[in-house]
């Protein structure tokens, strides 16, 4: 019945497609994973536990599929910040599934909802691909307090783990001690930080790109000051930063102009304003990927579904903890598994 589950939840070839709820393929996927991966899902799940528990309660209660059940489902999706639009879309999809597969039991709804969510989120799960250009320049942007500088620290660690050499550019010349904060991350990762006392953010990053070229560094991570999208002059400033980076490393036949990746950092606690952040930053900079931070609290990050619906941009990483290793590539199946509490324990 659920042929779709074969694809999303990998390593499930021997399972009959008509698996019952207990034999959820996702559980299998987790079983076959390495312990490290399992703890990763576990951590993500504990963050998203609230939604998961609510859903598990709802589905395991049994009974028929009726309007009341749909309404409760709507409630749960909304409280996860999925937003009105995406919630309506998911429920319409779900109704469609129910009709097509003639589902009658509320228990079957979970898998059907998993499919709908997965279908919505899967297109966003495209990992960051560090191209052959040297250096590969990554620029980070976002509103104040989203976690840009912290994400850079974690990203540096992640990239070093992949055998890349990294250089950090302290482009936040506005906030007090932002430079010191980045230098501290540089020291922890043993990475060079290019910074200037005061000065212009574009100039600092320009220098960093040139330094990286001279030192044959693989990846440049450029920090920028947090800015609210309503501040027109600051949005102009960040456009300029991007233009100046392109001047430091112009287009060649072999590679496009820098920056090769523009990452927007979003706080998972953010509500529907995340959508207008995505739109505004994308309009200004052409955002190529998202980082969703602070998923380790009670925030559910359902706003990803809203983004997937209204303005899809790949989610490159999610942050689930304060440790240096707690930034991981986004995987739609893990996220759905965690959000819906499919992995029953």
């Amino acid at each position: 019945m659920f042929s779709f589950l074969k694809k999303p939840f990998s390593g499930n070839t021997e399972k009959s497609p008509t698996g019952s709820t207990e034999e959820s393929p996702a559980e299998n996927a987790a079983d076959q994973s390495t312990p490290e991966k399992r703890s990763w899902i576990g951590r993500l799940k504990s963050g998203l536990a609230r939604t998961g528990n609510q859903l598990t309660d709802l589905f395991s209660r049994g009974g028929k599929i009726d309007d009341e059940l749909y309404e409760e489902l709507e409630t749960i999706l909304i409280t996860a910040d999925v937003g009105m639009d995406a919630t309506r879309f998911l429920l319409a999809e779900l109704r469609h599934q129910v009709k097509e597969h003639r589902l009658t039991e509320s228990g079957q709804l979970k898998e059907a909802l998993a499919q709908c969510l997965y279908k919505l989120l899967q297109p966003l799960a495209r990992p960051l691909d560090i191209g052959p250009h040297q250096p590969f320049v990554i620029m980070l942007a976002g509103v104040n307090g989203a976690g840009k500088t912290t994400s850079i620290g974690k990203l540096a660690k992640y990239l070093q783990g992949q055998g890349k050499s990294v250089l950090l550019a302290a482009g936040d010349t506005f906030r007090a001690a932002a430079r010191e904060q980045l230098m501290e991350w540089g020291a922890r990762n043993n990475v060079t930080v290019i910074a200037q006392q005061g000065g212009d953010p574009a100039a600092v990053i320009y220098d960093a790109v040139q330094a990286a070229q001279a030192r044959r560094i693989d990846v440049v991570l450029a920090d920028t000051a947090g800015r609210l999208t309503t501040q027109a002059h600051l949005m102009e400033e960040i456009k300029k930063v991007k233009r100046v980076i392109a001047k430091a490393m112009p287009e060649t036949p072999a590679s496009p102009a820098a920056p090769h990746e523009v990452l927007l950092v979003l706080d998972a606690n953010t509500g529907q304003n995340a959508l207008s952040q995505v739109k505004a930053f994308d309009e200004a900079l052409g955002v190529t990927g998202l980082i969703l931070t602070k998923l380790d609290g009670t925030a559910k990050g359902g706003v990803i579904a809203a983004i997937a619906k209204a303005h899809p941009i790949p989610v490159r990483f999610i942050g689930v903890g304060e440790g240096l290793d707690d930034l991981r590539p986004f995987e739609a199946e893990d996220f759905v598994t965690a959000l819906l509490g499919l992995d029953s324990d």
Binding site: G145, G153, Q181, T229, G271, G297, T298
Partner: protein, 450 residues
Amino acid sequence: MLDNLTQRLSGVIKNLRGQARLTESNIQDALREVRMALLEADVALPVVKEFTAQVKQAALGQEVIGNLNPGQALIGVVHRELTKLMGEANAAINLATVPPAVILMAGLQGAGKTTTSGKLAKLLREQQKKKVLLVSCDVYRPAAIEQLRTLAQQLEIDFFASDISQKPVDIALAAHDYARRHYHDVLIVDTAGRLAVDEAMMAEIKQLHAALKPIETLFVVDAMTGQDAVNTAKAFGDALPLTGVILTKLDGDARGGAALSVRHITGKPIKFVGVSEKMTGLEAFHPERMASRVLGMGDVLSLIEEAHREVDMAEAEKLAKKVKKGEGFDLNDFKMQIVQMRKMGGVSALMDKLPAQLSQAAAGSKVDDKSINRIEGIINSMTPQERAKPEVIKASRKRRIAAGAGVQVMHVNQLLNQFEQTQKMMKMFSKGGMAKMMRGMKGMLPGMGR
């Protein structure tokens, strides 16, 4: 992106025209729209449910007075209830204790505690003439202490140095002792951001609270927070006896529904709102304005305040004098006005703040950021002499200006016509003909659009 509630309701309520009372049956659909609008403004669902029930209660039997339509009457009810829920008047900060009065800041990571600590110190010094000491107990985030030190230095406020090898409680107690001995009126204690589910960290801040016995324990929350605001606020409220809330980053375009959720869950007043990156950007909270904002009813008051903040008063006065004297209003002044408008975020930002009907009317006048940019470009392509005496601009100058600004000669002509009208209007103004001026204004708006 978000339709405002007024527009949404007008659709539903069209068929209610002529009904004299709001009844259970005729407000059903409208209440659903209210619910939807609140959810889209990030008000948490449990709060929305309770609130719509309250609105229903208050609205039932309400008479539709005068020339209001039922939709307007209902919005009135919603707005009133919303204001009530946010707290009637703004609550002042309480410093009435044996000095130093301790203010403890708490909240999630990235909510804006450190920046707000600096702003609050400045505000207390300037508005209440207090001697303030700042201290950071954030030994976790890299350079967090350094950040507060830098802020304190910029603001010229006393700072108690701490070190990441110390324990937060020790730092706080040492700072308290220092403040007492140096006759500080207020001690503001910045803390590390923490998740409500992090038991060790929550225990730490409870310990801090017990040791310091602060008179104000302020929960700092980001105005952009989504549905989870209820959970966080509840957890912090359970762990700490909060005395108030500070809502930060309100200068963004978030509706700020979190304000409502936090206020409802903690039951504590919102004491301040952060409205700008600048160190002066901390203001008293106004419930009725926040209600308007959540409902998307336009925020004319904030617009006026912003105008005061951003517009260069000296320049504006100079212009006013010039006009009064009947001296020539030239293209330099024209450009100045454009620059000032841009400082406030451009035409589109201004429109966002206007109530729905007004902004629709303004949208019809074809003034947009693009045409304003073009006007500025054209003026920039003129020589100083041309700007001061536009009458010297004849055909060949027009061609040069058009080429310089990358526009057609036609656009230069349009600008000059428009400028002439404005100039005429200014002359009328200087002669005191207000009524004449209003008539003249009609001709001015249609921008540079095609």
